[in-house]
């Protein structure tokens, strides 16, 4: 196996409206399958909406929020919602999907510092 890297992912757009979240998810899966670590995902700008527990898409479509929630729990990925961006958009502790948590931009900074690559998905 090649060198194992630590990836950090930054998502700047919400689910469905833009493809960013799907692209980020698929990238994360591919990185894990290659044996890399996905140290964390930071949700900023409208990206915070990927963590809502209120999502209820049609049955025949993917459930973006649930996919991230499941991935966080199964693979131990730290999915962080920015507190300031979250508050602006109505994401607070009470309506966070399982596997995600609220914290500050310091977490994004730590992610950028501690990972080998920060990959951003946005629009």
């Amino acid at each position: 196996m090649g060198v194992k890297l630590k990836f950090g992912i930054l998502i700047l757009e919400g689910p469905y409206q833009h493809q960013s979240s799907d692209s980020a998810y698929n990238f994360a899966i591919a990185a894990l399958e290659k044996g890399h670590e996905v140290s964390g995902v930071f949700l900023y700008n409208d990206g915070v909406n990927n963590a809502t527990s209120f999502g209820d898409p049609p049955q025949d479509d993917r459930n973006v929020q649930e996919k991230w929630s499941k991935l966080a729990q199964e693979k131990g990925i730290d999915i962080v919602v920015c507190i300031a961006a979250g508050k602006r958009r109505g994401l607070i502790d009470d309506n966070l999907i399982k596997g995600t948590r609220i914290s500050g931009l310091g977490q994004l900074t730590d992610l950028a510092i501690s990972t080998d690559r920060l990959v951003t998905f946005g629009d």
């Binding site: 930054l10 131990g76 931009l105 900074t109 950028a112």
Partner: protein, 132 residues
């Protein structure tokens, strides 16, 4: 799972070159504003930071913005605190200014004007690029 304490320990030792690439105009999207908020927080971490304003990003630091009538907050003057926060390498791209009929006199903070080739070179040197 990444342990927050472990991340903190490694943050003390590592210094990365991080550049904020500001390409978006203010008010049409929140990008320059929330980008600025990231800058102010990241500035506290003793990293090697710089910001480059190019494309429509030059509009974010243009003087004379008055968003009262659109009901938005004027955050433009907050860019002035960046040097005081430790972000001293602030660049604006010459071609982006010229294409928009602007000069440094139109900007609300002191910047270093660089041309496209210098921006290219600066970006290649970075470990992390934050796009806003």
């Amino acid at each position: 799972m990444a342990n927050p304490e472990e991340i903190e320990e490694s943050s003390d030792e590592i210094v990365k070159k991080m550049m904020f690439v500001m390409r978006k105009a203010p008010h049409g999207t929140i990008n320059p504003y929330e980008g600025l908020e990231v800058m102010l927080i990241v500035a506290a971490y003793d990293q090697d930071l710089s910001a480059v304003f190019l494309d429509d990003g030059v509009y974010a630091i243009k003087k004379g913005q008055d968003p009262k009538e659109i009901g938005a907050k004027d955050f433009s003057t907050t860019f002035r605190v960046l040097p005081g926060y430790g972000i001293e390498k602030i660049y604006v791209e010459k071609e982006s200014l010229e294409n928009r009929g602007l000069t440094v006199e139109d900007l609300l903070l002191e910047v270093e004007v660089v041309d496209k080739s210098e921006v290219t070179k600066l970006m290649q040197e970075q470990d992390v690029l934050f796009p806003f």
